[in-house]
């Protein structure tokens, strides 16, 4: 710790790419149909709170990663157990994103290629990136993540020509319930998943601006989600949104005379890649700190291999993927995203950590 640093803008882009992640293929808040924008706003507000909470935990425990904080606050035994479950959670998260990615490419572009092959090839790149270290990851996101909003804007601007701009009406047709449900889902996936960054925050070179950075990237993600939602609903109309397996992909094939599908694949690979890299890095880093290994790189290959196998095993078919992302994930994530961080924040507020002497 303390040697490798990433800059503020790199962390900003890393978080943005992470939050966009696979939500770019599974349309944000399409369950609540025309009220998706409301869900996005509610989830966004909650997301800012959550991410700020994670950032405050990092600030109250300077230069400590999640695993170290857990051991500090919960004691050695309980802390270790909780840390192990977090490592599992991060690995599982990476596996799920692998699966989203694989299903998407198999459905849309490579119907005859086995999904295992696509995922495995992607995994090789991930291993390389993670082994190159956090600085390289920061630079990757600096180069690649800005492409995502730019391409999204281009795709949108070129398809919206003469369409119905009142497509999001009526408001609250089916009551508030589906809206709340969709926003809770959106809160857990992707905003709450930013708990991963508790392993990465200590690398930031200027800790003072941490909360500013996290808030700003959450805000830009909310903005992009809103834009994508309105784009989809204007082009496809609400009746159509829940029909398509991959809504944004459907939008991208509608451009007349030009095939935008590859552009969409590019967006997908960038955002999904950043997300997997962050999750894997967090898991690997946590594992090495837990065991006390000198170099985290020893574990990368085995953790990635594990999550690849997990991704293929964990779901039988595409509906399970969506059902998991839409229903189960939220409940599964409650302890990791809400309860434990809340306890950590509480404990940290009671007793401020002594700054590590060797740092900064």
């Amino acid at each position: 710790m303390g040697k490798t640093r990433i800059s503020g803008i790199q962390l900003f882009l890393l978080i943005t790419g992470f939050l966009l992640g696979s939500r770019l293929i599974i349309s944000p808040a399409s369950e609540s149909k025309t009220d998706g924008w409301l869900s996005i706003l509610i989830a966004g507000a909650g997301g800012i709170l959550l991410v700020t909470m994670y950032a405050s935990i990092a600030l109250l425990n300077p230069s400590r990663t999640l695993v170290e904080i857990l051991r500090d606050r919960f004691g050695k035994i309980i802390g270790t157990i909780v840390a192990i479950s977090y490592i599992w959670y991060f690995t599982h998260l990476a596996g799920l994103v692998f699966r989203d990615f694989g299903s998407f490419l198999v459905t849309t572009t490579y119907p005859r290629t086995p999904m295992e092959v696509i995922i495995a090839i992607f995994a090789l790149t991930i291993i390389y990136a993670v082994n190159s270290g956090i600085e390289v990851m920061g630079r990757i996101s600096e180069i690649l993540v800005p492409i995502v909003p730019v391409l999204s804007l281009i795709i949108g601007a070129s398809i919206v020509t003469t369409h119905d701009f009142t497509a999001f009406l009526p408001v609250l047709e089916n009551g508030i319930k589906p809206v709340i449900k969709a926003s809770l889902n959106l809160l857990a996936f992707p905003f709450g998943e930013a708990v991963v960054f508790l392993m990465i925050f200590p690398h930031l070179n200027k800790m003072k601006s941490l909360i500013k950075i996290t808030t700003f990237s959450t805000l830009s993600v909310i903005g992009l989600f809103l834009y994508i939602f309105f784009r989809n609903i204007i082009i496809l109309e609400s009746h159509f949104l829940d029909q398509a397996t991959f809504v944004p992909h459907l939008t991208s094939v509608l451009f007349p005379g030009l095939n935008l599908e590859p552009l969409f694949g590019v967006i997908m690979i960038i955002a999904g890649g950043i997300k997997i890299i962050s999750a894997i890095y967090a898991a690997v880093m946590g594992l090495s700190q837990l065991i006390g290994a000198k170099d985290y790189r020893t574990f990368t290959t085995c953790i990635v291999a594990f999550s690849v196998i997990l991704s293929i095993w964990v779901h039988e078919n595409i509906f399970e993927v969506f059902n998991w992302a839409g229903n189960t994930w939220f409940y599964y994530s409650i302890p990791f995203q809400f309860i434990i961080p809340l306890i950590l924040l509480f404990l940290s507020l009671i007793k401020k950590a002594d700054p590590k002497p060797q740092d900064l």
């Binding site: 459905t107 849309t108 572009t109 490579y110 119907p111 005859r112 290629t113 092959v117 696509i118 090839i121 090789l124 790149t125 390389y128 009142t166 009406l169 009526p170 047709e173 496809l236 109309e237 009746h239 159509f240 029909q243 094939v253 509608l254 007349p256 005379g257």
Partner: protein
Amino acid sequence: MKTNKLAIIFVLSILLAGCWDNTDLTDINIVTALGIDKDEDGKIIVTVQVVEPAAVPLTSSSNGGGAGQTKPVSVKSYKGETIYDALISMKSIVDKRLFLSTVQVLVLGERFCKDGINDALDYLHRNNQAEYLADVLVARGTSPEQILNIQADMDVISALYIKGTVENTAVRAKVERKMLIELFKEIKNKCRQITIGQITKLDGKTVKTEGTAVFRDGKLVGWLDQYQTRGYLFVADKVGNPVISFSAPESKISIEIIQSTGKKSVIFKNGEPARLSVQIRLEGNIGEYIGKEMLSKPEDIHKIEKMLSEEVKKEINMALNKAQKDYSSDIFGFGEYVHKYYPKYWKKAMDEWNDVFSRLPADIRVEAKIRHTGLIKSPMKKDE
């Protein structure tokens, strides 16, 4: 050394990934048009028009006779239980894999449409090869097979010829251009009924795309002629630059419409729909004027504006009447307006909306403006 090995693995893996789903151009049959119909027993007949690229003459000036004996397009039909079944079974009579991403025109048969298209088109939506931007048409008085079998003399590939006529006619607002994706949207949309452009066969070389097929609950119920189609398109706000001709006493006038916006709404009274309201704004230029009267004062223009708006109103009325009285089908999408602004009423009345729509009286307001008169002001005639 380690990085070298890694590099090799990466290069290999990227190349392998690219090849897995690779299909060479020589291994596929390029399908340019697809026809779907049903026979008397309810079996699906799928017709494909396949292009042989080598036989397509490179320049239009090279006379067809010299370009060899092979025909540039060939048409095959096959029966099956479903569209997918028929397409796959067809492999027993075609030599290569059928490649659907190049489909330009999709022609549906009358019998197929009468049995309902809501569920039947699933395959074209599910398959990742289907071209969502293909133009959809309904063959009237003929079968898709016959339409695709024409030997067009305007273009060697008759699918492109058909697509061209659709594009032309859509600008004139005599046929509605409906792409496959728009059709899917309408099938899902409960607030409006489906309409598809109509195609008829004139002779062995020519087709005509004019008119509209009207559906109710996914089933073909009738047709709109070219003028009713234009009236419908004015309301649906989908007109390009049509030319509207009408005759006044002692003169004949053709107006080219430059711009048109159509707005529709439903006026509610006491929580129940009371009237339909249509508002059209037009802007046009005088394209042709055959008559004796001089055109010089603004009042002369106002007179023509009035006649134009009456003419448009007449066409809209015809279309509305047909949709309300004969077909009882809300093709205009008034239901969308109700759904958006009166969601509570819509929930109640969703299922019988077509009947409610058929009962409502309509207010049609057309505001026509004529801006220019072309290069000359008054009609061509000898000075007196």
